[in-house]
């Protein structure tokens, strides 16, 4: 939030936060080997889109400023999607 609305690039630590958020609330599993990680990349994009859709954000699959802003907000620990 702010005036004018913030638009920032994704920082390194944001990438970690995105992954943690998706693991906690969108069932992105965190284990997996190299190959898995490739697939995980696609999985992260898919989970990110699920989160953006839930919060009414533009569904880009990319951690843009609005998406990061929502992820930084304090919240309930219960996942947003069924296990």
């Amino acid at each position: 939030h702010g005036f004018p609305a913030a638009t920032s690039e994704t920082q390194e630590q944001d990438v970690e936060m995105v992954k943690k958020y998706l693991e906690n609330y969108y069932n992105l599993n965190s284990n997996g080997k190299k190959v898995e990680r490739q697939r995980n990349g696609g999985l992260v994009t898919e989970k990110l889109k699920q989160m953006q859709k839930f919060f009414g954000l533009r569904v880009t699959g990319k951690p843009d400023a609005e998406t990061l802003n929502v992820m930084k907000q304090p919240r309930c620990g219960v996942p947003d999607v069924a296990p």
């Binding site: 004018p4 929502v70 304090p74 309930c76 620990g77 219960v78």
Partner: protein
């Protein structure tokens, strides 16, 4: 709203709860009261009853814990994950855990225990997270001064347990739908080059870089402002926005509410006491003239002289022919005035005193 997958529910609707331990942040009485009020929100709209017990196993066990507390869902220190609760069922079912690495409060400082408990007990009763930002069951923490079930929350819990036996069914506030053609506004103002629309507890704003309309609680920016604002305008060369409700007004600079507010409109602007509230207001940047709209009349205030101009009030139709005799909201952009009344919006040229276009109220939201 969303029901927990599998639709778990309590068959016995007379439930017990027990507060196993207390946070040191609040008195025991404050914790007891926050928990009791949180349950009351849900019992008011369903046949559910909640009885506090002091020992033994209750249906809903409430505790303050930190870090890994052996339920396979560790907390994460201050911020982030505030609390969680389990769906209806035996054992841990229904239980609610609050992260005691948070600071728990009974006011609008982070984090209000009553507000978080009301959300968690929704889970204890069988609700999952709602996508409605105005619902208590929305995942992110917001606190807009009062804690109330939205209509979305009521619809959700009554889908599981049915309505209460109350003769009159309580209803809750609806969250505005930005593309609802029936959408009307309480107030609209420019602010640092953007336009902000206000309705009930919410603001809406568009961002040139982002097509989605941002809708959130007014308290996200200005927790001291009341809900249900009635008028707002920007004095651009002072980088100040003024918000009006009743005979009071507040001034903000960006996200800061200026000290010494609210003030009253009589002493500050010279309104007669017959004026009880302002319907709409807009300030013309190049002349420093601010127009106030009250019922079918308008007043003109000179921001430089800081006094009302002579010859006012006038009927709205004299200075602004064609826009009708009531204004809900108005703002200025690009030298034009945009007047809103109900679902209608009039683009008005103050120089030629002519309406240029008739638009839908939510035409700014790219629906």
């Amino acid at each position: 709203f969303v029901l927990t997958p599998g639709n778990p529910r309590w068959e016995n609707t007379n439930l017990t709860y027990r507060i196993e331990n207390y946070t040191p942040d609040l008195s025991r009485a404050d914790v007891d009261q926050a928990i009791e009020k949180a349950f009351q929100l849900w019992s008011n709209v369903t046949p559910l009853t909640f009885t506090k017990v002091s020992e033994g196993q209750a249906d809903i066990m409430i505790s303050f814990v930190r870090g890994d507390h052996r339920d396979n869902s560790p907390f994460d220190g201050p911020g982030g994950n505030l609390a969680h609760a389990f769906q209806p069922g035996a054992g841990i079912g229904g239980d609610a855990h609050f992260d005691d690495d948070e600071w728990w409060t009974s006011n609008f400082q982070d984090y209000n225990l009553y507000r978080v408990a009301a959300h968690e007990f929704g889970h204890s009763l069988g609700l999952a997270h709602s996508t409605d930002i105005g619902a208590l069951m929305y995942p992110s923490y917001t606190f807009s001064g009062d804690v109330q079930l939205s209509q979305d929350d009521i619809d959700g819990i009554q889908a599981i347990y049915g309505p209460s036996q109350n003769p009159t069914q309580p209803v809750g506030p609806q969250t505005p739908e930005v593309c609802d053609s029936k959408l009307t506004f309480d107030a609209i103002t420019t602010i640092r080059g953007e336009v902000m629309f206000f309705k009930d507890r919410f603001y809406m704003r568009t961002n040139p870089l982002y097509p989605e309309v941002e809708l959130n609680f007014i308290s996200v920016f200005w927790p001291q402002l009341p809900n249900g604002l009635q008028a707002a305008y920007e004095v651009a060369d002072r980088d100040e926005v003024r918000f009006f409700k009743g005979n009071k007004y507040w001034a903000v600079k960006g996200q800061d509410v200026l000290r010494g507010y609210p003030r009253d409109i009589y002493r500050s602007f010279g309104f007669p006491r017959t004026v009880k509230s302002i319907d709409a207001a807009v300030s013309e940047e190049d002349t420093g003239k601010t127009y106030f709209f009250v019922a079918n009349k308008c007043w003109r205030y000179d921001e430089y002289k800081q006094s009302m101009d002579a010859g006012y009030p006038k009927m709205i139709a004299e200075d602004f022919p064609g826009i009708g005799n009531k204004v809900d909201a108005v703002f200025q952009k690009g030298g034009f005035f945009y007047f809103f009344h109900g679902r209608r919006q009039y683009k008005f040229d103050p120089k030629t005193k002519r309406i240029l276009t008739l638009l839908k109220a939510n035409s700014w939201f790219n629906c």
